[in-house]
């Protein structure tokens, strides 16, 4: 379940930043290629969204899911927790558009509530882990020496843990619920970010403008926020869009295994798990949460691909 592409991308990116020596040759080919390259990151993203229809549609889908998640309690057709045993495992009806589950609860309503879980698990642990990664990467890159060595070995340790196994481990200690997944995903996946931020810091530290800033006594904080972080932002955006779908999938898998969300709360992975026995009689109950997951993850991945093409010119076709 590990997203190998994400891992490889993080490795490659860190290696590439390490290798970049700024010996950029201005040749005729480059000049021609760069006619359109003079825009800033944000402009490039805007242009990408204009020309890349798939990414644009993905963005709309994501915004729609976010709106549904935010306003879920207001727009759900039924109470997602109301048990109605006589009407359990029923196919779609006018009252229950996607039918009912094993306790007669409305699947559409549960699906809408479940989008909150997926979104929050996709976003919050990503933000926390990337925050940890940024801080540790900056510290490692700036301090060097022993601090750097220890942080990078810690990163090695984290990279060795498959996130699902780590989540199981955490679930043993703090119990099997959503918090487990939050904690596990937040503290395990900072290593890739830290590597990239560290590489960028080391590279920029050598650059004249940073050396000059240090030499005239500019505060470290200013250097970090004015010079180093802005240079990391494009990479971080790309990493962010890779982490989110991978976390969403991890949550659904863990909930499916019974490690994550517990009944009666809703999670799309848990819904698939609970309804799998009734695949023959009520297929919508299993199909709907699976398709919802697929659409959400695809949307994030497509948008991420578009952003990566727009931001990282070395990968542009």
């Amino acid at each position: 379940m590990t997203n190998f592409e994400k891992d490889q991308y993080q490795r490659d990116l860190a290696a590439r930043i390490n290798a970049a020596d700024g010996n950029y040759q201005y040749t005729e080919d480059n000049a021609l290629a760069e006619i359109s390259e003079l825009d800033t990151t944000w402009q490039r993203i805007k242009n990408m969204l204009k020309s890349n229809k798939v990414a644009m549609v993905s963005l709309i889908v994501i915004i729609a899911i976010i709106l549904i998640a935010v306003f879920a309690p207001l727009i759900i057709p039924c109470d997602p927790y109301e048990i109605d045993l006589p009407n359990r495992i029923k196919g779609p009806t006018a009252e229950h558009l996607l039918g009912t589950d094993e306790f007669g609860r409305d699947i559409l309503s549960r699906l809408m509530m479940g989008s909150r879980v997926s979104l929050v698990v996709g976003l919050v642990p990503t933000i926390i882990s990337m925050g940890i990664g940024i801080v540790l990467g900056l510290v490692a890159g700036f301090s060097g020496g022993k601090v750097d060595f220890i942080i990078m070995r810690l990163a090695d340790v984290c990279l060795a843990f498959p996130s699902i196994l780590f989540a199981m481990l955490v679930s043993y200690t703090i119990g099997q619920n959503l918090l487990t997944i939050f904690v596990a995903l937040s503290i395990i996946s900072w290593a890739g970010t830290a590597r990239i931020v560290r590489a960028q810091t080391l590279q920029l530290k050598e650059k004249e403008f940073v050396e000059a800033a240090i030499s005239i006594g500019v505060k470290k904080r200013t250097i970090i926020f004015k010079h180093i972080l802005p240079n990391c932002v494009p990479h971080l955006i790309v990493l962010f869009t890779m982490h989110v779908p991978s976390n969403i999938l991890s949550e659904s898998s863990l909930s499916f295994l019974g490690v994550g969300a517990q009944p009666p709360s809703t999670s799309w992975g848990l819904m698939v798990f609970k309804m799998k026995e009734f695949l023959a009689s009520q297929p919508v109950g299993t199909l709907a949460p699976g398709i919802a997951l697929l659409i959400m993850v695809l949307a994030f991945n497509f948008l991420g691909d578009g952003l990566r093409d727009a931001i990282d010119p070395t990968l542009k076709d």
Binding site: T27, E28, A31, I35
Partner: protein, 332 residues
């Protein structure tokens, strides 16, 4: 026919355009270049003037979205435009070869340099592997690579920039081509190495009779090596002359500017001469003469009419209204 055989390469009215999403970019816009047998012809200009694109057009290695839209490229009288991919593969590396600016990246890092040269031989000549290896070592000797047997199995990253460029030249010369195109071959090298490489190229020309198209922005290289020079600007030839004539009598204001922007030790001036402005965007070319917005001798007529190449004697051609008798006559 008689005339054709005298010239290795004749480019006639070639236009290479890039069909980008933002419109057509005329990178090469009607260029005539003639390279006689066993001659070294220089093509000079700033970045973006179309000199590299001219070379890539001759090789027919233009990348999408670029293509030749007009004109002829005659190699020994045979038109290359319209040849199939397969036919061009037989010509490239065999009749025309090319060396590039960056010897660091122009060799494949995962193969030994020997293997890369052998590959070129095996592609075009029907020889055994051992024979190809022997030929490779011979050419390494010829281009002045010390310990050629040992270097045969070196990887590119184990060689210095100068040696790598010698390998590239060896690879280009190994099939005894009619024409070698050198695209800024010394720009990335140290000055001392540059002189050695230029010397080597001249020596190879003398020995094998291969014509060389030398693309550079460095007028020093031209003075050192070339017999004849074309000065390009914004996709057009602005001036063409035998090298001595050009340096003695630069006639186009652009050439004049180029020559004056070389620092000279013989006279001191407070400020180095520069050509003002920048290479124009090829999609928004000025009407009339393309150089006119940067020219110091602009006349009104310059903004109205693109002059033709005018022969001012001694094989010296200039594209400038200053030499257009009609125009000048009308003014006087």
């Amino acid at each position: 026919m008689e005339n054709n055989v005298k010239n290795t390469l004749e480019i006639k009215g070639m236009k290479t355009h890039f069909f980008t999403r933002r419109g057509v970019v005329p990178a090469v816009d009607g260029v005539d270049i003639t390279i006689p047998k066993a001659t070294i012809v220089g093509i000079v200009g700033e970045s973006g003037c179309g000199k590299s694109m001219t070379a890539m057009s001759v090789m027919q290695l233009l990348q999408y979205p670029g293509r030749i839209v007009e004109g002829e490229i005659l190699l020994d009288g045979e038109n290359l435009v319209g040849k199939t991919k397969k036919e061009m593969c037989e010509i490239r590396g065999n009749d025309i070869s090319m060396i590039f600016q960056e010897p660091m990246t122009s060799l494949n890092p995962v193969y030994t340099v020997g293997k890369q040269v052998t590959e070129a031989i095996m592609l075009h000549q029907d020889v055994s592997k051992e024979e190809a290896k022997r030929m490779t070592i011979d050419i390494f000797k010829k281009v002045g690579i010390p310990e050629p047997e040992k270097r045969y199995s070196s990887y590119p990253h184990q060689l210095s920039g100068g040696l790598r460029q010698r390998v590239m030249i060896g690879m280009a010369m190994v099939c005894k081509p009619k024409l070698m195109i050198a695209d800024e071959p010394t720009t990335a090298l140290d000055v001392t190495i540059e002189a050695q490489i230029l010397h080597l190229m001249r020596q190879l020309r003398d020995e094998t009779g291969t014509s060389i198209m030398m693309i550079t922005h460095n007028l020093g290289v031209v003075a050192e090596l070339c017999d004849y020079v074309y000065v390009m600007y914004a996709g057009k030839v602005m001036e063409a002359a035998p090298v001595k004539e050009l340096f003695k009598n630069p006639s186009h204001p652009y050439t004049f500017g180029l020559l004056n922007s070389i620092p000279k030790i013989t006279y001191t001036k407070d400020e180095l001469y520069t050509i003002k402005g920048m290479v124009p965007n090829l999609q928004q070319l000025p009407s009339g003469c393309r150089f006119c917005p940067r020219c110091e001798k602009t006349m009104r007529v310059c903004t109205e009419k693109m002059p033709e190449l005018i022969d001012i004697g001694g094989g010296h051609l200039v594209r400038c209204c200053l030499y257009d008798k009609e125009v000048v006559g009308a003014y006087e």
